[in-house]
Symmetry: C3
Subunit: 177 residues, 3 copies
Amino acid sequence: MTTSLPRLTFVLGGARSGKSRFAEGLVTAQPGPWVYVATGEARDAEMAARIAHHAARRGPGWSTREVPLALADAIRAGMGDAQAMLVDCLTLWLSNVMLAARDVEADRAALLAALEVARGPIVVVSNEVGLGIVPDNALARAFRDEQGRLNAAVAAIADTVVLMAAGLPLTLKQPGS
Amino acid sequence: MTTSLPRLTFVLGGARSGKSRFAEGLVTAQPGPWVYVATGEARDAEMAARIAHHAARRGPGWSTREVPLALADAIRAGMGDAQAMLVDCLTLWLSNVMLAARDVEADRAALLAALEVARGPIVVVSNEVGLGIVPDNALARAFRDEQGRLNAAVAAIADTVVLMAAGLPLTLKQPGS
Amino acid sequence: MTTSLPRLTFVLGGARSGKSRFAEGLVTAQPGPWVYVATGEARDAEMAARIAHHAARRGPGWSTREVPLALADAIRAGMGDAQAMLVDCLTLWLSNVMLAARDVEADRAALLAALEVARGPIVVVSNEVGLGIVPDNALARAFRDEQGRLNAAVAAIADTVVLMAAGLPLTLKQPGS
């Protein structure tokens, strides 16, 4: 794509749906340099492998900021000389917030407020996790509910929203619609 | 929306996808009063909180009927002076039917027969639960299969079908298509 | 549908989403006879019931090949006098490959290479399994990742891709797009 990005793009998708790759493509179609805001922390070998897999795919032109929790602050701080920002992803951020026993509602409100005033263009990636069977354990159900609330809130303020499946985007919302 | 509803609208979505809110918006865009058919039972604190959360969002103009099992009867009984009916949701109803060890196939057939002859407009809400990994336990797999069969059967007779994700509707079927 | 099928059609969907039925309809709208490539093995009563349920729905005009593992070979062997091939489904095939502790990456590459040179028309069915909560166990997470990679790879070379929900198709990709 060579078209310019709107202020806020939200890329939603399942595991291995190609959402990070698609989001990176949106950003690198803009003039660089670009900022990659990574919310994942390499807490175990599986996560470290996932992070390395993503990082290997990105080429030069990116600067990376590791932001496991203070996402609202990072967005408010702006992107300096960079021309676009990618936040990957809200699911790991929410997981970090809940594991740290922080106030999810307050952190969500701060994030939304930061996104609403950001200059952009920003592309935000998140997982859709609500389309399977109800999880057995209460923590997973609580996470699923919070993820759903967060996704709906970000989608409401985004200009463009796409849902990825099998590497292909389905448009849920377009600028002006 | 100010457009009139078709006879039968089916709103499908994941957990916290905004499906109840969207369905309520479709109904309250019609002249009132409206009937809310609640299939959920407050069997525990988590469920009670969910029901209270939904009820608090609905304003005046609604009359509520709690119908955990006899959904076909409730639909056949009609809506009296009300102008539209919302059934929220088929997932809790199916769960109640299976927990009561009733004949799922017979209850599904009765529900479909009632929906087919209802005057409408009726908006029916249900969960899509089949897009995750295969559940570990046989009961969850059986529920997933029955939910899928029920959703496809209702979608087949509905005039409009939408799939919700992050609070946004994707149209799967439109009147006349 | 009476339109002719493109060379490769990919039908993706959840459990009980109507994907097999929809795929069969695409194939039987073509002149017969047709080849049904079944990847499922009746390892237990639940699976045997599922296979019998699918087989009962298919009428005459079909020849069936049971191919739990050697799917690339079966596709390279062609369809003889048949006019179209249905592969149902990649999820059972991937499960067989992983249970047999085979090299998933090599088997996937061989399958993709076979699909790329096949004459067609071929309709391939697979499950979308990545839209639920992260599974508890590592094997399920690994399966989910491999299924997602496989689905994206097949979607990338398919002419048409549809995502099924409640028996209804959402088009993700069309020929020429």
